[in-house]
Symmetry: C3
Subunit: 442 residues, 3 copies
């Protein structure tokens, strides 16, 4: 029935120009050098740049605040770090790449022999030119990440090790942006901002959220929207702890990450598994013209694991391209500015916008002529059926909407059952409403 199956639905066809994709990539380029972690000035600097686009509210939560089973940690900041050889040359230099320092490393200033230093060096033997990304949030430790090639080239001798970091009482910082819609029911869009110079995970997510929020701010949405720019795990736990009384307003949600690479789309379903968000995303992916796959929920990954903890069980999925952890560049220096591309970012945004479009318009209607068909001909709505023209397809879609609009089938369900893309069904519903053939079902 649906000739669009292998073609992208109109609303998400590529514009060709990739202007928006270019803008997203430019923003990623600007944010790339900043050293972010789960707390600290890197996060503040990042949010400050994003506020040029979106008026995020900035929240500062003090170190030591109890959030459910967790405690907001000390704030970590870093000015410089290096390892110098006996000649005084910086063989490892934080100023060249913030990946070189294990995130949350405690300060250190010490000379030591190579053997001792090596206990604190991390590399990737399988990818000898790449620098890994490592963290040590809740352990008192320090370390450097280096390419395996560099590691192997280090000569015996004394090394001067310096990490000029601070771990002090301070704050956990996150951004929140709320768009009031017609209803208090909310859509949650969540994105982690705690990774340093890593592009796909998750500067791509920040770029996408920025564009998506701008878009929704321009429409008058039916739902209210809440965008969270938070450090992973502790950030979502903190937000949930501070907003426990309001989470019941969340009707749908998505965690945004890894949306800039060229892999096929991957949707990880919510814990509920068949929530409206799950069906909406899968419908959009089916009609995206791109390759895609869906996964059942599992309780590890990014912040969906907190939103989907049993005490909340919110309908929040995670829509990615290549899933985090599944591509070799993940959490390495190879997740860089050339790994993410404008056209992939733009296509990802189009998919997210189509999902929003489905959520916004997925209403349920009742036919005002439920007994037998209405006579479409005298309303000018009847076209010959039989040719495989676009008109005939629209005609059949009209009959589907009229037949299934019994107050028990949403437009998304009608689209799925009839084998049409949501956009077609939405457009036809609009026509039928204009002819007083449908009413909204309450």
């Amino acid at each position: 029935m649906n000739m669009n199956r292998d073609q992208p639905a109109e609303g998400i066809a590529p514009s060709g120009a990739a202007t928006v994709g270019r803008e997203m990539h430019d923003l990623i380029t600007e944010l790339y050098p900043i050293c972010r972690s789960i707390t600290g000035d890197g996060v503040r600097k990042t949010l400050a740049i994003l506020r040029r686009y979106i008026p995020f509210e900035i929240h500062e939560v003090p170190t030591g605040t109890k959030v459910f089973d967790w405690t907001v940690p000390k704030e970590w900041n870093i000015r410089d770090a290096y390892v110098k050889n006996s000649k005084g040359e910086r063989v490892i230099d934080f100023l060249k790449s913030n990946l070189h320092v294990v995130s949350y490393s405690r300060p250190i200033r010490q000379k030591m022999p190579l053997a001792e230093l090596r206990q604190h060096l991390f590399s990737l033997p399988d990818h000898p030119d790449w620098v890994p990304y490592r963290t040590s949030y809740y352990n008192d430790n320090w370390g450097f990440c280096v390419s395996h090639r560099l590691l192997e080239s280090l000569q015996d001798g004394q090394y001067d090790v310096c990490i000029d970091s601070t771990l002090t009482d301070g704050h956990l910082t996150y951004g929140e942006y709320y768009i009031k819609g017609a209803s208090e029911d909310e859509v949650l869009i969540s994105c982690h901002i705690c990774h340093p110079s890593l592009c796909n995970d998750n500067l791509s997510g920040m770029a996408l959220v920025t564009q998506l929020a701008s878009y929704i701010a321009r429409i008058s949405p039916r739902y209210s929207y809440r965008f969270l720019l938070i450090p992973g795990t502790i950030g979502s736990i903190t937000w949930l702890a501070r907003n426990e009384q309001q989470v019941n307003r969340i009707r749908h949600g998505l965690v945004v990450t890894c949306v800039g690479d060229g892999g096929r789309f991957t949707y990880k379903k919510s814990r509920q598994g068949n929530a409206e968000i799950d069906r909406a995303v899968i419908h959009v992916l089916k009609h995206s013209g791109s390759e895609w796959t869906a996964q059942e929920f599992f309780p590890f990954g990014y912040d969906e694991r907190q939103y989907c903890s049993p005490g909340f069980d919110l309908p929040v999925g995670c829509l990615m391209r290549s899933p985090h952890g599944s591509f070799p560049e993940y959490h390495t220096s190879a997740d860089n500015l050339s790994f993410v591309r404008p056209e992939h970012l733009e296509k990802s945004l189009a998919v997210y916008r189509y999902v929003i479009d489905v959520l916004e318009h997925n209403m349920t209607y009742r036919s005002l002529n439920p007994k037998c068909e209405p006579q479409l001909g005298r309303r000018g709505l009847y076209q010959a059926i039989g040719g495989d023209s676009e008109a005939a397809k629209r005609q059949l879609a009209m009959l589907w909407v009229l037949n299934l609009s019994d107050g028990r089938h949403s437009l998304l369900e009608i689209a799925e059952r009839a084998g049409y893309d949501f956009e077609t069904i939405k457009a036809i519903t609009k026509t039928l409403l204009q002819h007083n053939l449908l009413e909204e079902s309450v």
Copy 2:
């Protein structure tokens, strides 16, 4: 378990003689020349012939009667129609085939050049020898249908065009036949009678309904049966509008069309999708020894689209051989007396009769010895199980009926779960009832 799977169940095995099929084909041959439309004397003549077999009640509904969103149209009749060339020869002649005139053409008597005439001529370039069937029920228009070969042979010049039709206030005519059964619950059998010289669609349907009604009139059915011989769309809408208060008696229904060709059986399910009629038809087709397929409901096609409109949502499916619209001869002069054949008509009737048999006997029982098995041996009901003899199969079927007769499984459900044909289960149930091992469940 069931050795009959690839063989027809006994009750629908071919008789060999095809006597009934021959009678059905003879009736089609008699009805073939009559010019039917959605109103007019062609319908009346057709019903008069069918009344020789079945005492249909004839209903006449006046032009202008409101029926839901529709209005009964003017009555159309036609005496003659032709196109004469400049030599006065009839190059298109309604008297040779009623397909030549677009149904519901308004009267016209005019001379015109070929160029103007061609605006009103319809042909099938892909099948140059066939004449298409066209209608213009609710548009004020006229036209002729011709073979493409004829169309291409027409020379420039003046043509004398005549359609001696009338479009006047009159009636919509339909036939209805009610057989009172033990229960007021009804089975609806509906068949459209508005097509002119087209055999599979739907003279085959009329022939089958006539035979089926005769058969049911001879048994004492459990259900009441209502047979409708109606013009398509407007006929079912009219009937539903006039009988709105009684449709809740309809427990099962079938729309009969295209039952005379040699294609595999096709069952289009009711909108409910898993109604008893759906399960009964699919069971019978599985055990028919013929090829078959089933389709999910879709809201276009024949009168099932009205019975299955959301305000009624009746359990009415459509049982065909080749589905209308799917074979090249559909709605052309090639759907003629040689396209439908006695043996196909007879097999279709057998399938319909088996469906009726299932509906009539699909009761639910309770074992009178629900705790442990009854001792079959002392009742003479126990035969050695082990050989693959017919007796062993019957023995196992007996255990199935006893085990599943708990008031929650109908005989059809037992047949399906145990992998037997309904006939076997029905026969065994009769034996068990005779031995006081079951009681009907109320």
Copy 3:
């Protein structure tokens, strides 16, 4: 996720020594010569031997007792039986194999010609060296079972036929063993003991039940356990009739038979089809490291057909290796001491024990930190996830248990959804309980 899928879960890995399998085979060897039937001293002798291991209670139910639709039959005993040729040689001799006499043969002492004798001789032409096993419980008859080779070698002449049996008022004997657990809810383990010298069907069952009962007697079970050693059909009917008021305590049950051969495991589901016992057994078989298959319930077979009759509908399945009736040796002299092997018996016992383990520990818990994840790190429960080490797998399993412990998922459901074996999930649950992260859900 689960690396154990093709390997047996730890708890049912073979011990190597097969000591228990050897014990089971020794018991079978001891029981093999006894002539059992549905009543009589053979059953008593068998139970006396089994009581060396398990203190079964012995029940004696008098001939003539009404049990539902059945009546306890006369008791059958036999001392000797033979057919002598004209030279006085025993050509058929009960003392060589009790299979030679049709079970429940009435006494006879008569001379007759071969032609008459042959009416009472049974053999297997397809397996000319095997002796079939035949019964005639509820028909007044007599007969001998012989190899086809012997049958064909018999010369014309007079034969001296003797069956020194008695059919008198007496008792039906069965054994019952009850282990009181923490709950009155019961697990039923049922095994038929009515077959003479047949090893797989069902001396293997008796050997397994003996071991299983010893095992459960050593633990302090949550459930109470009831073991039945009964004659097939009439035994389960008798037990159900006498215990009708208590069967509602039965939560799970298994019929044990054919557990000593080398075929793949076969589980025949209960009539309910998706009862906890069904899911438990299938889970265990999936993780058994052995080939296996599952069958939907059908109302013939062994005593499950009585437990699953519609008036009881108990959750009782049947766990076998090669299903009775499906292997050529079934009910012949070839089902002998070499057909069943210690290693198969031991593996079958391991599977049954794992099933019991699942039932015993299949509780439902609630996370005590349902909102967001608990911080595992500060409890020492957090290990790096990423490598495919055993530790990482346990870590992920921990997250699964915490996420799904919402009072609505049993441990078995968690294991199934997460793709782990039950044992791993059980072990992790124990750890989580020790850390006060879970509570039992009531």
